[in-house]
Amino acid sequence: MIWLVASALLFSIGAYGALTRRTAILVFLSIELMLNAAALSLISFSKLTGSLDAQVVVLFIIAIAAAEVAVGLGLIVAIFRRRETTSVDELRQLRG
């Protein structure tokens, strides 16, 4: 099934972006790409198995992604107000 391969490719490209991007917003953008790859694999499995449950799960994924984006972007804006930066290299206070 070619779409499962496409989903794996998208997930890996998103992982690459999450590792190499330096701005928090762009790391977040890459994570959206990975979420979308997971949704694509669920839809292909739905087509392969003939079960609609996977499509319902994808609806939930989209809803949760919306919630995640609202909170995550709120966090980024709050961090930017305090620190004047969203670079993940400078936000290293949690590092041991």
Partner: protein, 199 residues
């Protein structure tokens, strides 16, 4: 399923736009490439008999989420992605190697998948087919309610997070002790915050 012209075209478009998302230097361009990626994925959903999910994908993902991203990128003037320095971004080939390994493992896994036999009955993925599943108490009804509540909590959290009053209050003791007798604490807290702003 046979691999024809449209499958190859969609695969190339998906990979191309995804690479644009992770490689473009301008954050606005990356977000717009993400919109293109989501639109191609929505087309693939239609081809896979998930039409309702495809429409939701366009409306929520390409329409709302990425616009929120663009809004924040422009609000913070963070269009230039090349700031800061770290060991990992200086060695992008390590991340590339890791991503290639991940792709290899995932593709190995998914090509091993054997679909069960039997005629698929997806009903085109239309709302008539999805609705009874979503609202069936023995299937997904409670999950649906929980997700709805999660969206409410996330909205309230986003409002509270970006409120300037909240940042000042975080340095000292909280301005209001939370009242436990409220039936709906997140909503009550939001109202309290608005009262603070008015004063």
């Amino acid at each position: 399923m046979s691999v024809g012209f449209w499958e190859i075209l969609a695969l190339l478009l998906l990979a191309g736009t995804a690479i644009a998302v992770v490689r473009l230097q301008n954050a606005v361009h990356a977000a717009i490439a993400l919109i293109a990626n989501f639109l191609v994925v929505a087309g693939v959903y239609v081809a896979l008999e998930a039409r309702f999910v495809a429409m939701v994908q366009i409306i929520v993902y390409a329409g709302a989420i990425v616009v929120l991203f663009l809004f924040v990128i422009m609000l913070l003037s963070a269009a230039n992605a090349n700031v800061g320095q770290d060991l990992m971004p200086r060695l992008p080939w390590v991340a590339g190697l890791g991503a290639l390994g991940l792709a290899g493992v995932l593709i190995f896994a998914v090509t091993r998948f054997q679909p069960p036999t039997g005629p698929p009955s997806l009903g085109g993925g239309l709302p008539q087919a999805l609705g009874p599943l979503l609202y069936d108490p023995e299937k997904w009804l409670y999950a649906l309610l929980v997700v709805g509540f999660l969206l409410l909590v996330a909205t309230v959290a986003a409002v509270v997070l970006v409120e300037p009053e909240r940042i000042i209050a975080a340095t000292g003791h909280p301005a209001h002790p939370r009242r436990d007798d409220q039936p709906n604490p997140p909503l009550a807290e939001q109202k309290d915050e608005k009262a603070v702003v008015k004063r």
